[in-house]
Symmetry: C2
Subunit: 234 residues, 2 copies
């Protein structure tokens, strides 16, 4: 009988924001896979580190960050093949995912390659969006407000329109786009409603007014915008 | 010294989707508060039930669901006063929150009344959005896709525009709006890309093609829409 593919969301970074289920699955795993850049540590693995049992088999998924997609695709193809070999041998494989597996996560690339052939389970995790709001103590959305989650690389005009239309906005993957986003929000008169959050829930977390945010920002940073004058008061 | 107000996200319903931190805080609480309707059980309390210690002091927040806001406001005023009395006596108060405290949560009404006067911590939780995607095994957003979170009571024209502009959509609070939403999505040619998810992560969870969804739907139901032809494959 084949093993099961299990994508496990580990939350935004604080190991204590792992779910009980994630902790149980990682603690009992015989085979784990985790994504990382070509060099360096895996953020996902670092979140789960204390729960990973001794003697576990590890499958590193080293994903090149190149402009062309072919190298990353090839890396996912190889990773999926490594995982499939374990699944066919009857071993479950736990894939470690920072945040949530289906929310801008690399697990989706494995899911697309394996879910048709193998039993698959997805364990949701706390996303960076609500973790940033909690760290910034900035309520996100109440009642009938629209939340827009916007990746920073979108074109400025698209961002402007979506921000205008949403009651609350989380801009992901800020990084080198910080300056452009700050100029846009200043132009829209929203800079005062925007909070910059870096590495939410980690020991080196930083929460700053947008005016004081570093440019460029690290990849794991977010801008939260909430509008209205305390709409949740009523 | 005053106690601390702690809003704790408990996740979408499966007690195992509580975070380790939520479990620790609930297990060690001396005073808990939880929202509920005027009659019946508290969904938030039911998620945490197994972790609630014996002998804990409980503050029920019974919130009337009326068209006028004044009765609910008065209930939050009374609840905040009850909580403040414990905080002033030096006792921490753990407020149980289904999902995430700052994501369409009633905790925001307490936060607005108490956070200026008392130390406050917010513990994020798994939201129903990613829990529904995990249960439906429907990847939400990759790369530069926009996610729109839309409350179902919005006007149909507003919903149509936001759905058109978003790469993925989660429609919250479906309930009695199911028929109107289904007609809209059929008209937009998106009914085939829409999945209905009810009570995600609970034992009585249901996942159905939109065409088969019940009308009216229960309050705790969602419609997920993802577009594009497997954009995460590349």
């Amino acid at each position: 009988m084949n093993g099961k593919l299990i994508g496990v969301g580990l939350g935004p970074g604080d190991p204590e924001l792992m779910t009980l289920k994630a902790h149980r699955l990682v603690s009992g795993a015989a085979v784990i896979a985790w994504p990382a850049l070509e060099d360096g540590e895996s953020f996902a693995r670092s979140i789960a580190a204390a729960a990973i049992p001794a003697g576990v088999t590890e499958i590193p998924l080293r994903i090149p960050m190149t402009v062309e997609r072919a190298p990353a695709q090839a890396a996912y193809d190889r990773g999926a093949a490594d995982i499939a070999a374990h699944l066919r041998a009857g071993r479950d494989v736990v894939v470690l995912c920072e945040g949530d597996p289906f929310f801008y996560g690399s697990f989706m690339y494995l899911f697309a390659r394996l879910a048709a052939d193998f039993e698959t389970e997805v364990v949701p995790g706390v996303t960076s969006v609500t973790a940033c709001a909690a760290s910034a103590r900035q309520p996100l959305t109440a009642r009938n407000e629209v939340l827009g989650v916007l990746p920073a690389p979108l074109e400025t005009d698209v961002l402007r329109q979506r921000i205008t239309e949403s009651g609350a906005v989380a801009i992901m993957k800020v990084g080198r786009h910080l300056g452009r986003l700050r100029a846009l929000l200043e132009d829209m008169g929203l800079a005062g409603s925007a909070t910059y959050v870096e590495r939410a829930s980690l020991p080196n977390e930083r929460i700053l007014p947008l005016a004081e945010a570093p440019d460029p920002a690290p990849y794991f940073s977010m801008i939260l915008i909430t509008k209205g004058d305390d709409p949740w008061l009523n």
